[in-house]
Every structure is written in structure tokens, then in C-alpha cells.
Subunit: 416 residues, 2 copies
């Protein structure tokens, strides 16, 4: 094993928080401690947390994590949202200069950044700059995103817990929709990838493929990967409503038309963050507009208005405190794995989750962590593969089989 | 014990479903069965469930519950939403005629209706009509409403579980708000009563009274019982935001101005149900409008827009499958109690939950069921008492002490 350079380690959290991002933080701390960080004679002196990601790093705002007790770490691991604070800053060149001044000033030699594709790109830039400067900085990205849109992984920590919330919420909301029939739209997070919206299908009894077999909702699922057409949408809803007297619909906030124009962004007078992304969450506008369209088009002339309701699941879906057991374990494990890589010779990389059990076969779920290149994941977006989709408004059996072990045990209900 | 008249029992569910309304249904079935219903020689012949409340009753649409297995009943009791289907129908005189034709036709002598204040009024009218006709029909109302707005009770089944969801969602969402600061508005159900919105205060660490002590949100809570003023609201938010750099707000969907005009109804082009109630749920418009006002008023001229987000918790808050243990037990118990009353001589009434342990003293929570008159609860609305409020934007310690045993154990999180 090559000799480790003496210095401090720093860990940051970035982007939208999740229910398990603190588990990854704890994993990195545990992994560094396992390598002796903070103990006498060990090259890793202190384990520091960036306050609000690279924003805090450049200001020298740290939380010392070196001596947190195991009890504290265990509690932190099940605490939703980003315990260190997060940021949406995306460093440009000038920003990177400030990051390096901070790293040099604070003698930081081990850099861990927990986040999604924007954050992995930050990590990549920081790493390239450190290489160019000849400053040894071991840069590791630890994956996190409820959108499940990182390439190179079977799935991403944060997604399974958010999917669990979406499945349970849709399950209960569908029962509500049976009891007081009408049309119900639920808008789910997912700017470019439909995985989380697709997870609504787990709400169906025994997570069956079609809705014809069990009649369960959501009967219609719309994801960003399939061009959204308002006329076809209306027709779809009308058909289910005529057949069943009700209709339960899951729509991704990121649905777009055939030209790639975001339906939500067209309807929402929102804000744009530093990455140029329009605000899609934290507003009910998309659901409300779709509901208005359905009310107007499906209410018979002179007839009683069709009952249409829309809910937007909002921020609670990414942080609701009911984590998937698999997700908690993998988030913590991926943090530990990154720390193990950094302390055993690797100088940079990201962590991928690779499923080792087959999808759709009645075998226990298993997965392993692998190191991948930062450039393999940075700033790339993974979309739902074609085999996870069925037509323009449904998901495949394969997707349900993929999703099932991730979300954990779901309640089973009695129907009369 | 007076002799019971021979005939069938019928049970209906009405109004907005909850996470525990099926527990009440199961309780009635269990209570009737305990009295021998359906067994040889017992005066109660069958236990029938109305499909979609009185709407199904008048059409002769029933589900036979007489012989459901104990396992099935146990599963049904933890199933959210109304298993028999619900209705928002409010019977007028002609409708009541049809109810009686149905009762006579199906030899119904025991009538149980699970619902809120509109439903208790339906029950009262049915009861009065049966008295006027000299048709012996034992009419019982079993309480249910997430709004907690039935008079005569300490609280109402359905509220504790919804309050539990609101508390947990606000807890996690506040952590989210810490990690990516800004202004966050959460809109909570409650047309006339603020109990459920007030339960958001349970999200604060140790459910403390003020937000000054722990800094935790929601720092501002707005309920329908206090006149809402947009200027004062803006001022409140501005003060918290200036002091803490963020602000977490809970707003009831039913907030109204000093003239009693609903703020939500003014902003929402919604639908009106058969009770003349405007649609407040199933739309994000109130939160979005309040967010727009704050963005416009609090963003400094020429400055970076203030980050304001709004989520509307929506239907999931009334049916999320994470019931409060106290709520599950009391909902089931109140159903059993109603059945016990009906089979032991009482001919009509409603069930009240009376707390027998003092509020705010470190003693185990306890409560008992009592029979109250139908006219004591029918069509009346309970509001938050003054001692549960603190100023125009907070709740009192007494409210938190009232709420704590109802919602059950909440997660405890680690803060760095």
C-alpha cells in the first residue's frame, strides 16, 4: 500500500437532500476512522465536514467530525436531510481557485463529496485542478439522488427511500380514490428521469404489471422519457374513467413534449438556480394546470363537473423518515467504500452500486460496490431504459422486479 | 335489558376517508358479533356494509360483513381509507324517504354511520325520521374526522394519525429547510379548525413551545381561528427570515380574513360539493399564491430573488399508512362502544372520547368513551380553544401537551 500523505479529510453534501444522505456521511466517517483517522501517528489528522458543501469550504466553515461518538453517528445515519447543510453552488474557475486556497490553507488531502450528477462534476473539476497543480488531493464522489439518474449504477442511494414513500403514498391515495371516486393526479419528483414516478406502480396490489388485472392505480404513469401530449393524455384518462368510473395518475414533474420542452416549466413562473435549472418542485402549478385541462375537457356539456384533484408530493418525498432498509445500508456502505478506496491507494473515483442478483428471479437481492472513474459519472444523466417502460403510459414487469427489493416491505391491505 | 328487535344491522362510512376509519368499521362489526349478531337465535340477523354510505344504502348495495374472519378484520382495521367506499351525499327529505324505504325493504333495525359533523347530522335526521314514523331503528354515529372539529370530544379518531403525518413530514421538511435555506410554506388540511395545522408544531425538537428556544420550525403557524392578514403575514415572515436566514411556515387551507372570507377560496377556481363547500384540497393554489406574494415583497430591489417554496400536503395526510397507535385503538374501540350501546338498550347516540388523564402532567395518557346525544354533535363545528393558541401565529404549550400522547412516538434526530 502506497504511503498516505499527511493532512485532513473533508466531507461535503451537495444538491437536494435525501432521507439517507447522512448515512453516506456517516459511512465516510466510519471508513476513515477504520483506517485510523484522528488517532496518534495516522496520516489522516482530522475529519472535517463542510458547512453547506463547497460554499462552506471556501469560507473555512467546518464541523469537526473526528471524534463523534458511535451513538451520535448511528443517530445521524437515520436522520433525514443533509446534516452538514447542502448547497446548489456549481464552481466555476474562480470558485475552484477559492476551493484550492481553502484546501491548502486547511491542509486538506482527502476530499469526499456526496451528491448527484452536478456534484460529481464539481468533484471531477476539483480533482482535475488538483492534478494540474500537483497538489495531492484524493477526490471521491459518493452517489446520492432521489432521481436515480446517475450512470454506471444499478440505482443510487436516496432513490429507494423516496420510491418507498411514493409507493406507500400512492397506495393509500389510491384507496382514497376508490372510496370517493374521481380523477386524481399525483405529481412526483424527477426532472429528467422517470424512475421515481415509475415507482408509483409499486402501489398496485402485488405490484402487478398491468392495471387491467387488479384494476389498481395508478392506471396511468407519465415519465420524462416519453414525449407528453396533452390530447393523448386526455384520451388516456377518458378511457380509464369511462371504464372504471375513476382514474389514478402519476405524472413526473419533468414531463416534456416531443420537442423536449418541459410541460411544467411552460406552466410555472418559477425561479432558476445557479445551474440554470427551472424550479419544478415547491409548486403545485403543473398538477393544477393538468387538472384544469381535464375538468374542462371531460365535463359533459351542461353536466356535473368531473371531480379532478391534483396533489404534488413535494419535498416530503425526498426526506420522509421511513427509509428503505436496503437504502440505509447501501448509503452507509457506499460512504465506507469511498473511504476505503481513498485510504488504500486509489486517488480518485466514484462509487457505483452493481446488482449481483438477477432481476425478476426469485432470489435474494444482492449488490456490490465498485470504483468507477469520476468522468464516467460526472454531469451525465441516466434515463429509464426502454425495457422498464411499457407503451407511453405504463412501466414494465421488469421495472417492478427491479424496484421491489429496493423499496423494502410494503403494507398489505384488505379489500372488501 | 330490553328485548332487541329482530332485523339486520347496517354500517356506513361517510365524508373524507382517514387512516383509521376502517378500524371503526371493524370495531362496530366486532361489537355486534360480541352481542351474538349472525348467530342462531340472535335478533341481529346480518351485519351489512353500505357501499358508499347512504348512497349505496338507497340503491340496496351492500357488502355482507357478518362472517368476515378475524384475520380479515385485523387486516381491514389497519387498511387506510374507507373500505366500504364513502360518499359526500347529504340527504334532503326526499333522500331520507329513500333511506327509509331501503331500511324497511332490507329489514334494517341497527344503523351505524361513521363520519364527521355532516355525517352525524345525516344520522340525526335519519333518527328523527325513524322516531316520527314509529319505525324502531337504533341510530348511532361513530366519530371520524382528521379536522378534529367534532364538539363534545377531547379529540376525534382520524386526527391523531393525520397529526402524526403532519408532524413527521414537517420534521423532515424542516431539516431540508435547514440544509438549503429559504422560505418554505406547507399547507395543511383543516377547513374550519386549525388542529391539524397546529400539530406541525410537534415537529420542533422536544415539541417545545416557542421557536426561540430551539430555533426549530415551523416558526410560524396560521390557523383558521385567527384572522389572516397578508401584510402581517409578510411582516412575520420577514422578521424570522432576517433573524434566521430561513423560515418554515405551516398554513391551514382554511385560513380566512377578518370578515370570515376564505383566503384559499378567493384564490382557487375550484369546485363546490353537495354541502356547498368549496374545494380546498387537491390543489396547490393557496400555497403557490402565498409564495408568490412573499417572493414579490421580500426580494430586495435588483437583488437575487428570495427562495420561496410551497408544498400542499394533500390527500396523503389523511390516509398515510403510519397510524398513531392510540388512534388505531380508539377508532376501533369507539366502534365497539357504539355497538355495545346499540345492543344494550340505547336507541340512539354518538360516541365521545373523554380524556381522563390531565393534560400537561407527566402521567400516562388515558381516555374513556361516553354516549352523547346525536343533537349534541350534529352539524356543529369545534374550533381550537383560546388556550391552545399563542398570539396570532403560534400554538401554546398546552396544545403540545394535548397533542403529544395522541400522535405517538416521533423520531429523534441528530443535529450537528
Amino acid at each position: 500500500m502506497p504511503e498516505l500523505i499527511q493532512g485532513n479529510a473533508v466531507i461535503g453534501q451537495s444538491g437536494g437532500p435525501t432521507a439517507v444522505i447522512n448515512a453516506s456521511l456517516v459511512g465516510v466517517v466510519e471508513g476513515l476512522r477504520r483506517a485510523g483517522a484522528g488517532s496518534a501517528g495516522n496520516p489522516i489528522l482530522k475529519v472535517l465536514g463542510m458547512r453547506h458543501g463547497v460554499s462552506g469550504l471556501t469560507k473555512g466553515e467546518f464541523h469537526d467530525l473526528t471524534d463523534l461518538s458511535p451513538d451520535c453517528l448511528d443517530r445521524l445515519a437515520i436522520t433525514p436531510s443533509a446534516g452538514l447543510g447542502s448547497t446548489r453552488d456549481k464552481p466555476d474557475l474562480a470558485y475552484c481557485e477559492r476551493i484550492f486556497e481553502a484546501c491548502e490553507k486547511h491542509n486538506i488531502r482527502y476530499f469526499f463529496y456526496i451528491g448527484g450528477n452536478d456534484s460529481s462534476d464539481t468533484c471531477r473539476i476539483v480533482n482535475e485542478l488538483s492534478n494540474a497543480r500537483g497538489y495531492e488531493l484524493r477526490c471521491f464522489h459518493v452517489p446520492k439522488t432521489v432521481d436515480n439518474d446517475l450512470v454506471g449504477s444499478d440505482h443510487t442511494p436516496g432513490f429507494p427511500s423516496a420510491a418507498r414513500f411514493v409507493a406507500k403514498a400512492c397506495m393509500a391515495d389510491f384507496m382514497d380514490n376508490i372510496s370517493l371516486p374521481g380523477i386524481k393526479i399525483n405529481v412526483v419528483m424527477g426532472r429528467h428521469a422517470g424512475f421515481l414516478t415509475a415507482a408509483s406502480a409499486m402501489a398496485r396490489r402485488e405490484a402487478r404489471y398491468g392495471c387491467e388485472a387488479c384494476g389498481d392505480g395508478p392506471q396511468l404513469i407519465y415519465v420524462p422519457e416519453v414525449a407528453f401530449d396533452l390530447d393523448r393524455f386526455t384520451q388516456d384518462v377518458s378511457e380509464v374513467y369511462d371504464r372504471q368510473g375513476r382514474c389514478h395518475i402519476a405524472v413526473s414533474e419533468g414531463i416534456q413534449d416531443k420537442d423536449g420542452q418541459s410541460i411544467g416549466a411552460m406552466l410555472i413562473q418559477g425561479q432558476v438556480d445557479d445551474h440554470g435549472n427551472a424550479q419544478l418542485s415547491g409548486s403545485g402549478a403543473l398538477g393544477d394546470q393538468l387538472a384544469n385541462v381535464l375538468k374542462a375537457r371531460l365535463t359533459p356539456e351542461g353536466g356535473r363537473p368531473v371531480r379532478v384533484r391534483a396533489d404534488t408530493f413535494g419535498y416530503v418525498q425526498r426526506c420522509f423518515p421511513d427509509q428503505s432498509p436496503v437504502d440505509l445500508a447501501e448509503a452507509r456502505g457506499s460512504g465506507r467504500f469511498a473511504a476505503a478506496l481513498a485510504t488504500s491507494g486509489d486517488i480518485d473515483g466514484s462509487v457505483a452500486i452493481v446488482r449481483t442478483s438477477p432481476i425478476g428471479v426469485d432470489q435474494p437481492y444482492s449488490a456490490k460496490f465498485e470504483r468507477i472513474e469520476l468522468s464516467d459519472v460526472a454531469a451525465k444523466t441516466r434515463h429509464m431504459p426502454a425495457e422498464f417502460l411499457d407503451g407511453h403510459n405504463n412501466v414494465s414487469q421488469m421495472f417492478l422486479d427491479y424496484c421491489r427489493p429496493l423499496v423494502g416491505e410494503l403494507p398489505r391491505y384488505e379489500r372488501l
